[in-house]
């Protein structure tokens, strides 16, 4: 963890993530905004790797950069007559002030709190996270795990019913 390459990688990836998130807000075309969003997701996955969470990084690339971005592209392409530009509302200046104030508050609290850090944080507490996460999912978190699977089934069926053509009363 203490190799200089990891530290450099952390700051480079943090800059990449924040810059591409800003570009999502700045860029004019909505398709380009989704592409910058994918870049931001991949940057966050790299940050997970530098924080020694390799399994979550793989999940992030698969679900966010793979599935959710493709869903967003599909939603944009399936709404062709709606406005394709990524314009903001007319009152975006006070919104930016509010978002900046909330971000500044979180930064202030994060820097001024006495976190219960581990004594020796130079080495990671994890050996291989995939096996550990699998054990944790099936031993102490088995009920949330099953509830999550039910939630995914409900969301899938709900999405199919919502977009099915002619979803009035003709199904039987």
């Amino acid at each position: 963890m203490e190799q200089p390459a990891v530290i450099v990688a952390f700051y480079v990836l943090a800059g990449l993530t924040l810059l591409s998130a800003l570009m999502v807000a700045m860029v004019r075309d909505l398709i380009h905004a989704v592409l910058f969003l994918i870049l931001s997701f991949i940057g966050v996955a790299g940050l997970y790797v530098t924080l020694s969470a390799d399994f979550v990084a793989v999940v992030q690339v698969l679900i966010y950069a793979g599935a959710i971005s493709v869903l967003m592209l599909f939603a944009i392409l399936l709404t062709p007559r709606s406005s394709r530009d990524n314009s903001s509302v007319s009152y975006s200046a006070p919104i930016s002030v509010v978002a900046g104030l909330i971000g500044a508050t979180i930064v202030y609290v994060a820097l001024n709190t006495e976190w219960a850090k581990t004594a020796d944080s130079s080495d990671s507490p994890f050996e291989n996270t995939a096996a550990e996460i699998g054990k944790a999912l099936l031993d102490p978190y088995v009920l949330p795990f099953e509830v999550a699977s039910v939630l995914l089934v409900i969301a899938m069926i709900g999405a199919i019913i919502l977009v099915r053509p002619g979803n009035e009363e003709d199904a039987s």
Binding site: F10, L18, L111, T129, E132, L162
Partner: protein, 103 residues
Amino acid sequence: MISLEHVLVVGALLFSIGLFIALSRRNAVGVLMGIELMLNSVNLNLIGFARFVEAPRPIDGQVFAVFVITVAAAEAAVALALAVAVYRLRQTIDVDRLNLLKW
């Protein structure tokens, strides 16, 4: 060296960018992009806490991040299906023009 505060500051900046995007976009898909960025910053904080904070079982933060990613995937599927259904009804997903419930 990387410390917990660096991770938290990156997460806070990402959260405020996501909040700005979620509140200021006209297109409903753009609003959803902001929400995903905010969820990402929360996950980043969880991973940072799992890495740096003393805990009886340090893997818990990563397990929680996996659950957040699962719920975010379900939410994105339903929200985008809603956007497509609303578009079919009103020919727009501009959130300023979807004011049927506005008094």
